[in-house]
């Protein structure tokens, strides 16, 4: 019969530590205790982790097939019936973009952020390229879209590099995201205004940037102020 010197409770005779405080059970007069029979322990040692009901990869494969079917049907309709323009390419490129963003990551057991980043950037650029090919009368618009995609992609890469360095709090992540968005929206507005000769885009970029900057300041304040954290915890349970 052993008792925990800190908690004062009796411990099970097979216990190696106190379950309440973790204090090890030691008997200085005896040698190391023999390993007790499994059946003597109050609970079994066998851990059973149940199988996942629906495997992610299987689900991703099913979704891929489901997405493919309407594309094939529409291609067929486009080629043989409504064939004045090659409109099905829009559907196909949109589906491909969605698939790359939302379905492709489920094919991997472990997250591969750099691969996702690379493919997402390429597919977004390809999507814009398809529009440029189909509507070649607006090359400057496509250039502006390309520059925005590359800016967002760069910001995402910076975020991934920062995020993988160490574990971050939710507020820390929000601060970084809004800081990124502040810079990206300002630069995107600027580049769009330059390439399209429309200063309105710069104004829109500045407005967006200011909104994100306000959110950035709010989250920094939440992060630093103990009172604000307590207030949010009390009224919004965050």
């Amino acid at each position: 019969m052993s008792y925990c010197v800190h908690c004062g409770v009796e411990l099970d005779r097979t216990a190696k530590t106190c379950a309440l405080c973790g204090t090890p059970v030691l008997d200085p007069s005896a040698g190391p205790p023999p390993d007790p029979d499994e059946a003597d322990r109050p609970f079994s040692d066998q851990l059973l982790i149940p199988k996942q009901v629906m495997k992610k990869r299987f689900a991703a494969a099913v979704i891929s097939v489901v997405l493919l079917i309407p594309n094939i049907v529409l291609l067929f309709v486009n080629l043989f019936f409504l064939n004045r323009t090659f409109w099905s390419v829009y559907v196909f490129s949109s589906t491909l973009l969605c698939w790359t963003f939302f379905v492709f990551p489920f094919f991997f057991r472990k997250a591969k952020p750099y691969l996702y980043w690379c493919l997402d950037t390429v597919s977004a650029l390809l999507y814009a390229y398809v529009f440029w090919l189909m509507r070649s009368n607006a090359p400057r618009t496509v250039q502006a879209v390309f520059s925005v995609i590359l800016l967002v992609s760069l910001a995402a890469l910076v975020f991934i590099l920062w995020y993988r360095r160490k574990k971050h709090s939710k507020t820390g992540i929000a601060i970084h995201v809004f800081a990124d968005l502040t810079v990206v929206s300002l630069l995107a507005g600027l580049s769009a205004a330059q390439l399209l000769d429309k200063p309105d885009f710069f104004v829109i970029g500045v407005i967006c940037s200011l909104c994100f900057a306000a959110l950035f300041v709010f989250f920094v304040y939440c992060h630093k102020s103990r009172h604000m954290r307590a207030y949010l915890d009390k009224y919004f349970n965050v």
């Binding site: 009796e10 216990a15 190696k16 609970f43 851990l47």
Partner: protein
Amino acid sequence: MSKRKQTEKKPLWFSLDNAAKIFPAQNTSTWSNSFRVQMELDRKINPAVLRAALEAVMPRFPSYGVKIRRGFFWFYLEKNENPLTVHPDIKNPLYRVNFKENGRYLFRVYYHGSRIAVDCYHVLTDGHGGAVFLSTLAAEYLRREGEKIPAGGFSLSPDAPPTPEETEDSFVRSASSEVKKLKKDGISYHVKADPMPDHTVNVTSGILSFAAFHRLTKEKNVTVTEYLAALMLSVLLERQKRDGGRKKQVAVQIPVDLRRVFGGETLRNFTICMLVKVDPNKGEYSFDELLELTKYQLRLQNTMKEHNASITANLQIERNPFVRFAPLFLKNFFISIGFAIAAEQTSSALITNLGKVELPEELARHVKKFLFMPAPGKLNPARLGVATVNDSLVITFSNSFVQSDVERAFFTAFVKQGLHVKIESNRE
């Protein structure tokens, strides 16, 4: 006997009772609303005999030998004729229930050393029903080991036919109030800690002498549940004070067995939850103040009229034509979303007291301990089940967080009162 044969021949199906209707929608790939009842006997369990005993008692519990099926509007339970199995016990009880595993049965029977345990999905029954099932199973096991055990108390006779009252939805029978009272509870304090990996749980049982504990509660003129709830409030208030920041209400949820209020013999769900709340912004509370507060709050709520108003309101939701005729996938969607957002937000802890498990003398002398354990919470480390058999009162925490400081504060409070506490746990 002919009556029993008739019952067996009939293709059986049951609609889910009023309380059970939301449980399937709450089911996720990592969490299910279930509970464990476990009995420690005076001998090593033989799995072959246990399986035979299980097969013998199953006809007595027609509402447990079922599988769950999806209807267009509601889930329903259908008779299950797959073979029954018993499993060696595991370290992580109450892992999620999958409707297609375990021969599609919604309960799992385990053995370990001299212990028999049943992990039961809450759709089938509540703690009382689980305790009746386990007691009947243990009695049948001992009979097959050569003991003469009569039926009585929680232990039913496996040869007697099941009665219609045992399989009824008692909520429907009892709801008759003209007042429909839906409870509105604010957001409560939750202890912040590191979660355990999915499908794992820390179980810590404290075993006390019921006589010694009962003396303590008598001195304070409160019941066992009231004392435990007040102690839990005190532990959580202290913990919140230590955490710092703004103070939220601390609330303990206490399910109450409605059979004791409305009568009835149902072996399906028939419980409703009460909430005891304390607002720390009103000032510091001594333990005696908490005892008084808990006592009066519980006694005000624990009346037939209050419960009737609550269950009538719950039943009215089920009977609302918009709810009734909404397709199941829509109901599931809204229930799961609601549960994901609001689950446990209103309570800081749960204490479910099964009370004294009444067993015939011939069975009770073979029983060393009876353990009752609710499913671990998503937000609360303090979810505890209490059960008493003979002189052994077992308080079991099921905690899905790594830290054990709530358990420690709780059990050491008994030690400070001079009570002897023995701790058993699945922690390393």
